[in-house]
Symmetry: C6
C-alpha cells in the first residue's frame, strides 16, 4: 500500500516526528506478524500489561532518536557558544 | 490538546530536559494504551515492581539522550583542546 | 550464499532501509540458530507472543538507526539554520 | 530540593561522570515511584536479584553514554591521524 | 590467545563487520562465563528459545552500530547535498 | 580505592577498550549492590543462566560504544572518499 511506504524521515515538528517513530515501531511488529487478525487479538493482551507497554514505549524511544537526528532535532538555531 | 503537543526539544537546563524525557516516555505509553482509566489501574502494579521501575527508567534514559543531544548537552563552552 | 552477503548499507529510500534493518535483525538470529528447521518451528511461538514481537521490533529499531545514519537519513538538503 | 536539580552534565573526570549517570538513573526511578518508603522496601528485592542488577547497570550505561558525550569523553587531545 | 585479541574495528565490508559484531557479543558472554564447558551446555537452551535468540540478536545489533560507525558505514562516497 | 577510579576512557587498543567496558558494566552492579559477599553469592546464579549472560553482554556492548567513540574507534587513518 503506497501510503504505508516510508518516503522520508523529515517532519515539520517533534510532534509529527514522534508519530512517525510510533509508525516505525508498529511497522517492525507488522513485518514479524503480518496477520492483522492475530495482531488485533494480541492487542488487549499487551495494552493492559504494564511491562509490555513500557517495552513498546522503549521501541518508540529508539526510533524517535533516529527521527530526531534526521531532523537535526528541529533546531532553528544553534546555541551560542564559542 | 495543544499543550500536549511537542513544540520543540530545547530546554533551558538539564533538569527541564529530564522532565521532557519523562514526558516523552509517558507519551509512548499513552499512545499504546489511550485509556486514562486503564493506565491509572496499571500504575500501582508497575510502580511497586522494581523491574518495571528499572525498565521505565531505561525508556527515560533513551529519551534523555535525544533531548541532551538536541540541546548540545547544555554546554556553554567547548573544552579546550587543539 | 552470495546474495545473503551484506554488500553495503546504502539504500535509495527509508523504506528499503527499513527492510535492510529487518534483514540485519534476522541475520543475528540465523547466526545464533543456524538450523532453518528449528527457526521455522520457533516462528509460530514468538510471532504470537506480544512481548517477543515488541522485542523483535526493538532489534529492528537498533539496526534502523545504523542504516539511517549510514544513509545520512536520506536527506536531500540540510535544514537552514544559522 | 535545590541540590537535586541537574545543573549541568559537565564533570571533571569519568569517575564523577559515572556517578552522575547513576544519579540520572535513580532520578528516573524516583519520578515513577516518588515514595521514598516504597523505594526503600523494594531495594532488598532488586539488589539481590542478578537480573535486576544487570538491568539497573544497563540504565546507568545509557546515561553514561550521554554524560560522556557531553564531556567530549574527557579527552585532552585528539588522536593524531591524517 | 593472540588471535582472540581485538586488533582493530576496521573491516573491508559490512558482512565482515557483522561477523566482528557477533564476535564482540560472544566475547561479552565469555568474559562473564569463562568455562567453555558450561557455555556449551547452555547453548542448546538459548538457541531454541526465541526470546533468547532475539536478545542475542540485539546485542549483535548494538555492536554492529559501533563497528559500522568505526568504518564510516563502509561509504565510498558522500551523498550530494549542499 | 584509587585504582578503581576511572581516570580516562582512552586505551591503546580495542582489546583494552573492551576490558574497560566490562569494568564499567561491573561498576554499575557494584554501585547498586555494594556487598562483595552478596555479589559473590549471585555470581553462580547468573553465570549459568543464558538470559542473564546475554543481558550482561548487552551492558558491556553499550559501554563499548562509549569507549570506542571516546577513542575515535582506534582509527589511525580516515577512509579515503570524496
Amino acid at each position: 500500500m503506497p501510503n504505508d511506504q516510508l518516503q522520508m524521515l523529515l517532519t515539520q515538528t517533534p510532534e509529527e516526528g514522534y508519530k512517525l517513530a510510533v509508525k516505525l515501531a508498529q511497522k517492525g511488529i507488522e513485518l514479524t506478524q503480518p496477520s492483522e487478525e492475530i495482531r488485533q487479538m494480541l492487542r488487549p493482551v499487551y495494552s493492559r500489561n504494564p511491562d509490555s507497554l513500557i517495552a513498546a514505549s522503549q521501541v518508540v524511544a529508539i526510533h524517535f532518536q533516529t527521527v530526531a537526528a534526521a531532523n537535526n532535532y528541529w533546531r532553528m538555531w544553534t546555541p551560542l557558544y564559542r
